[in-house]
Every structure is written in structure tokens, then in C-alpha cells.
């Protein structure tokens, strides 16, 4: 067995796993704070990436475009709270979930209506084929950058949730609406914060994925890859989203390279789902998910 090759596959897998984690993070944020599985997260990734790339094409400098897109995502969050969430306050979670399915199609459609449905090249100034070697293993530079960005994002989000007043308010709302109100936490404001944060994470994911695949409709479907990540890592855990992403990325690459040839290849596409199924059977709440304790 060629250990350098093995190493290269593992590192490649881990790095691509980080990309999945980025998308999964957006889901975790909203799920943590409202218990809603936001089906529209993929569409938000697409919308953010499209907005960013089209602003760049208008010759707006990169930082300004990033700032503008952030503002657009915050406005989107406010609109979602106002138009979708507020009328559905106190409804069952399944109803909110259904609403996000509708929201998904709306945002997808709007993104392509406002901008367009062409494939746009997004160049961040990092050559996506460049790399460096560790021993005999080739490591892709772009993937390392993506991993760094994701790492910083996760660190900031973890600190934010754990130590800030707003972070605590977010967790409070997630746990109990009534109790949160009784200590003076306004639900609406908190929802705007959550959806804005999810929007900003979608922007980061969109920029990273967009520069890898080109900004196109297909990046809204990378959200599907986030589902096994979430099941494995746990829906409520930020570190879980990261670990889940790493396991999925690494697992699917290893499976493709070492098991693929025996079964005709293309394992990569279904392997994560199978892994998720196994986790569901052994540990339904995911690796880092909160165990549901019910008092009888």
C-alpha cells in the first residue's frame, strides 16, 4: 500500500469535508436557535454567491462587494422574519419547515430572476489547481484556504454562542420561547439575528463553493450533501457540523479510492448517506447532538 497516496487522499478528503461543513453550519445555526430545519439554506448559499459575483462583475471592489452582499443578506433575514416567520409564530415546527421549502423555491427563483442563470466565474485570486507537496503527497492550496476560512468562522461562531449576551439569548430562544420572553428576550429581534448569521455563513459558503465550481444553480444542491453531515455531527452542534463534514469528506474519498474499483465506482455520491444511516441506527442524535432526555 502506498502510504503517501493514502495520506494525500485523507488530507484531500478532510479539506473537501470542510467545504461541506461550511454549508452544514448554516443549517445548524437556524436549527439551534429555532428548532426549524431550514430547507432554504442551499438557496441562500446560491443567492449570496450570485449577488457577490454579480457585484464583482459591476467592477465593485471585492471588499465593498462583500460588505454589500452582507447587507443584502441581512435585509433578506429581516424580510423572512417579517413575511414568513412572524405570521407563523406558535405554529408547529413542521409548518415552519414546510414554509422553508416554499422559501427555498422562492429564493432560488428570485436569485435567478434578479441576477441571471448563467455560470459565473468567481476568482478570488487563489489558483485552484496550485498546491504544494508534503513528502510525496500533493496538497491543494485552495482547499487549505477554504479550511482556514471555515476554521476561523467556526471559532468565531462558537465564541459568539458561548460567551456573548446575544449568543446566550439565541440559545435561550432555542430552548424555550415562553421562558425567553419572561426574562425580556425579544423573539423577533433574535430571529433576525439568527437568519442574518445564517445568511452570512451562506455567503462564506457560497463564495468558497462558487470559486471552486463556478457560481451556478448547481451550488444550491451542495446543500444536499450537508444533510448526512448534519445527521452524523448532530443538528444542534457547531463543532458537530465540522466533525461531520470531515467524516463525510474523508469517508467518501477513501471509499471512492479504495472500495470504488471493486463495485464500479461512483461510491462518492451515495457513501455519505449510507454512513448517515449507520449513525442514525447507533446514535440517532448524532455525535455531538444533544441527547433528548424526557422525564417520564
Amino acid at each position: 500500500m502506498d502510504w503517501w497516496f493514502f495520506f494525500e487522499v485523507v488530507v484531500g478528503g478532510l479539506l473537501s469535508g470542510v467545504m461541506y461543513s461550511l454549508v452544514a453550519l448554516g443549517f445548524v445555526l437556524i436549527f439551534k436557535a429555532s428548532g426549524v430545519f431550514n430547507f432554504a439554506q442551499g438557496a441562500m448559499v446560491l443567492f449570496a454567491a450570485l449577488t457577490f459575483v454579480r457585484l464583482l462583475e459591476m467592477n465593485i471592489p471585492m471588499l465593498a462587494a462583500l460588505g454589500l452582499t452582507m447587507i443584502v443578506m441581512v435585509i433578506l433575514a429581516i424580510a423572512i422574519e417579517r413575511i414568513v416567520l412572524r405570521p407563523l409564530v406558535n405554529q408547529d415546527l413542521i409548518i415552519l419547515f414546510m414554509a422553508t421549502i416554499g422559501l427555498n423555491y422562492f429564493i432560488e427563483g428570485m436569485a435567478q430572476l434578479v441576477w441571471d442563470s448563467d455560470v459565473h466565474v468567481l476568482n478570488l485570486g487563489i489558483d485552484e489547481y496550485a498546491g504544494f507537496e508534503i513528502g510525496n503527497a500533493f496538497i491543494n492550496k485552495f482547499d487549505v484556504w477554504a479550511a482556514l476560512i471555515a476554521g476561523v468562522l467556526v471559532l468565531i461562531l462558537s465564541l459568539f454562542f458561548r460567551y456573548t449576551v446575544i449568543g446566550r439569548a439565541l440559545r435561550a430562544v432555542a430552548d424555550d420561547h415562553q421562558a425567553a420572553l419572561s426574562v425580556g428576550i425579544p423573539l423577533r429581534t433574535i430571529w433576525i439575528y439568527v437568519w442574518s448569521t445564517a445568511g452570512l455563513v451562506a455567503l462564506v459558503a457560497g463564495v468558497v463553493w462558487g470559486s471552486k465550481l463556478g457560481v451556478q444553480f448547481a451550488i444550491s444542491t451542495v446543500a444536499l450533501k450537508a444533510i448526512p453531515v448534519l445527521i452524523i455531527g448532530g443538528f444542534t452542534s457547531v463543532p458537530g457540523a465540522i466533525l461531520g463534514g470531515l467524516i463525510v469528506g474523508c469517508g467518501e474519498k477513501l471509499a471512492e479510492v479504495y472500495v470504488g474499483p471493486f463495485v464500479g465506482g461512483a461510491i462518492e455520491n451515495w457513501f455519505p448517506y449510507m454512513l448517515a444511516m449507520v449513525v442514525l441506527m447507533i446514535r440517532p442524535q448524532g455525535i455531538f447532538g444533544e441527547k433528548i432526555i424526557e422525564r417520564v
Binding site: Y163, T164, V165, L181, S182, G184, I185
Partner: protein, 265 residues
């Protein structure tokens, strides 16, 4: 326990004055022409058989429900409809009949969250625990630790509340309400589901809070022994109507109250 003489209560001693309120849900009349005042510093118990309108009354006091008829004065001023999250800012804190804690947090974090509205926001400082953020956190932590000592829950500070036994959960919930430093504390069946020992502890905490901080307390409770022991005044509701209001001794001997509890009439 001293029983305060209600005849000496001047206008300024009244924290809340509820005048002639009626509340109904659809065709169901929950409260009918009820008058009730809450005096500063007293422990007022609202009692009555099931379905008498006690919880509705508590929700009117907290401002969650706005009665269709009648007025509510808070510190001498007419209170208008308020957003649920602004109740805490008025100085009214509460606990719930079915414990409503932040289940994903530790006891300490739960109580700290009770102080959220007293804290200022500076994301950067808070996240990295420096400067203003750090000073603020430490200051509030000190207050929270005081409450924790007070309620004798030092040993479970870092335990996620979902794992705590019922009695301790109720205590943490009281701690969270106290963290707001409220003027008026509403307790919805604070002893429900507790054993004798836990009830005794809870009674002691309620009396201490009232005594030391001067917090006005309104509580709903089914355990008559407890109610008669700790309350300065008792108001009795039956079918949405106030049938008695006075010192425990006075209320206990009223025929209407006895009838309501025995199901006569």
C-alpha cells in the same frame, strides 16, 4: 411573620391596582368584574378551585393578557398593552407552573440569562473576554453567584438543568427570576409536585426574598397549609369572581370560601 395592616396602606404603597376587570376567551368567562390591588412588599396568594381563573389573573398581572374590560394601574399609572418581552423591563419576573427552563444550559447559565436585559452588548469584547465585556461579565457573575449561594445550589452550578431533579429545577427557575432583580415576582404554583422537605425549603426562600430584598410576591398555590403560612394576604377566586380577600385567618373562616372548596352552591 408579621401580618401587615392593610388599613394603613396609603395610595403610594400600592404597586398595582386592578380595577373591575373582565376577561373572556370566546364565550368562556375567565374573570368577571374583579378588583384586586397589590401592595408594595407583601406576599399575596391567589387561591381557588381548579378553573377559578387564577392563571388568567396572573397573566393579567404580568400583562400577557389584556382584559376586555377594566383597567390595570402600575405604580399609579395606567398600563397599556405591552409587548411580552417588555414585561421583564417593567420589573416583573415570573416562574411557570410547568417549569420553563433553558434545558440546554447549565444552572449558572440559566440564571445568568436572567440578567440579559441588564447587560450591555459589545460583541468583540464579550467574545474574547476582554475590556468592558470582561468587567461586565464578572460583575454579573458575582450577582449570579450571590443568588446561587442564596438558593443553596452551589453544587449544581455547572450541571445542565435537564438532568436536575424537579425540586432543584424549580429552584433554578426561581433563581433566574430573581436575577432580573424584579420589583414584583409572580410564582405560578411554586410548590407543585414537591415533597415536604422541598416545600419547606421553597417557603423559606420565598419568605427570605420578600424579607431581604423587599420584593413583592404574588403566588398561586394549591397547598393551603403553605398559603396560610407564608401569605400576608389571600385573594380567593371562584368561577372568575373574587369571593374573598383578606388575611389568611379572615379568609379561612369565610363561609363563601368554605363553600367554594367543598363544592357547595
Amino acid at each position: 411573620m408579621s401580618i401587615k395592616d392593610k388599613n394603613t396602606a396609603a395610595q403610594s404603597d400600592i404597586l398595582m391596582n386592578i380595577k373591575d376587570i373582565s376577561l373572556s376567551f370566546g364565550g368562556l368567562k375567565a374573570l368577571l368584574n374583579v378588583n384586586l390591588h397589590i401592595k408594595k412588599g407583601e406576599i399575596l396568594a391567589i387561591i381557588g378551585p381548579n378553573g377559578a381563573g387564577k392563571s388568567s389573573m396572573l397573566n393579567v398581572i404580568s400583562g400577557i393578557y389584556v382584559p376586555q374590560k377594566g383597567t390595570v394601574e402600575w405604580k399609579g399609572k395606567l398600563r397599556k398593552k405591552i409587548a411580552p418581552h417588555n414585561i421583564a423591563r417593567m420589573g416583573i419576573a415570573r416562574t411557570f407552573q410547568n417549569i420553563a427552563l433553558f434545558r440546554g444550559m447549565t444552572a449558572l447559565e440559566n440564571i445568568l440569562t436572567g440578567r440579559n436585559i441588564l447587560m450591555k452588548r459589545n460583541l468583540f469584547h464579550e467574545m474574547f473576554y476582554i475590556g468592558k465585556g470582561r468587567r461586565q461579565e464578572e460583575e454579573h457573575r458575582k450577582k449570579v453567584e450571590e443568588i446561587i449561594d442564596y438558593l443553596e445550589i452551589q453544587s449544581i452550578r455547572k450541571t445542565p438543568v435537564a438532568r436536575l431533579p424537579y425540586g432543584l429545577q424549580k429552584r433554578v427557575e426561581l433563581g433566574r427570576a430573581l436575577a432580573l432583580e424584579p420589583e414584583l415576582l409572580l410564582l405560578d404554583e411554586p410548590m407543585a409536585g414537591m415533597n415536604v422537605e422541598e416545600k419547606e425549603d421553597m417557603c423559606r426562600f420565598i419568605l427570605d426574598v420578600n424579607d431581604q430584598f423587599g420584593t413583592t410576591i404574588v403566588l398561586i398555590e394549591h397547598d393551603m397549609g403553605v398559603v396560610m403560612d407564608i401569605s400576608d394576604r389571600v385573594a380567593v377566586l371562584d368561577y372568575g369572581i373574587k369571593i374573598a380577600d383578606g388575611t389568611p385567618d379572615k379568609v379561612r373562616s369565610e363561609q363563601k370560601v368554605i363553600d367554594a372548596y367543598l363544592g357547595v352552591g
